[in-house]
Symmetry: C2
Amino acid sequence: MSRDPRLHPRKQPRQVRAELTRRRILEAAAQVFTEYGYAAGTTNRIAEYAGVSIGSLYQYYPNKDAILLELMLAHLDSGEEEATRRQTGELPGTAEGLMRLFVQAAIANHLEDPRLLRVMVEQAPRSPELLQRVYQFKNERNAHTRDLLRRYREVRVSDLETAARIINATIELVVHQVVAEHEPIDLQRLEDELVAMFTRYLTA
Amino acid sequence: MSRDPRLHPRKQPRQVRAELTRRRILEAAAQVFTEYGYAAGTTNRIAEYAGVSIGSLYQYYPNKDAILLELMLAHLDSGEEEATRRQTGELPGTAEGLMRLFVQAAIANHLEDPRLLRVMVEQAPRSPELLQRVYQFKNERNAHTRDLLRRYREVRVSDLETAARIINATIELVVHQVVAEHEPIDLQRLEDELVAMFTRYLTA
DNA sequence: CACCATTATGAGCAATCATTCAGTTCTTGC
DNA sequence: GCAAGAACTGAATGATTGCTCATAATGGTG
């Protein structure tokens, strides 16, 4: 893994207050990016929100991109964690139950902070390192989905790999759009229809 | 319709060369935004690409946003035109045929210039006027899709409205993602699987 | 040709921002 | 309690960029 030195912290905190400062900066960045977007979310504003001088910010982050990168990595990590946590539970008895689990998880995830998520998605292409991680994450999720689908006898599609990719992409994107936009859609109905579509697709 | 004066051309061209200049600027803008993205696609760079002075650019566009807005409106218009053109032809005999038509159109459309499209999608939320138009466009498309679906007896979903929305959103987003990203996916397979999914959903 | 509206030019202004660094304050270990 | 390093400060810098405006060139018209 090639780490771009222009994207990683310059200094490892050694005192407690330094760790606190780091965290305050990161939380402020999340707030500011959410409120103003990436371009208008200036580093000075982040420092101000964090109640910290701009100089302190630059002691821990070599530049603005590095701050967003850390936010993104944190988001990915929490998503991954969530996924493995769900994996340990009982599997639903039907493919429909499985699909419902998927859709519900996506809706919940995107309801969290759609605006910050949007900033992240928009800026992601700027960091090859991040793209690499996102790509890997999606691949693993697709593989995992495929393995889950394989356990259900009712699932009849021949190419589970492609089915898994389409299902995951559809869930992610449709839910993201519908939740992020201000379209007044009934989330319950969205959930039901997506589940129906996937189930019929898989078990036709 | 409220037209924001800060987004519309200051001057109507009266001579041929002025019209030419306008067009050159717009084409250059498409190129520059495609190559550099919106933020790094500076107005000076656009003027340079157009072989025109920066002053000329500002005679026709009051600011940078207005340029992108015009590009977006042009894209929407061409899409609408394409849609009505397709409407005049013969309807396919089966719902599957209809879905294939939809998916093929989306793939073709997105294959055109994914990077410029991406810039547009990212920047769209900045213009309420544009959002309004996009929203209207989607509503009309959904209504149209719903009407088409109604003509097929094999279609058995109860809520055609929601079905139309989900189908259109899925097509647009999945195709956009898969085409725009560099994922090596077989477009033919993508088409087939999407068609299969929609058909089974509709006719289950 | 002569006149004027239209169009084109591009140096430079003003504002914004990411980032630096010299100096100050705080913590820790002895 | 005192050095020495760690952490923090914020005015200043330098670079970028959207945009203006005074001036020049061009085209149409009588």
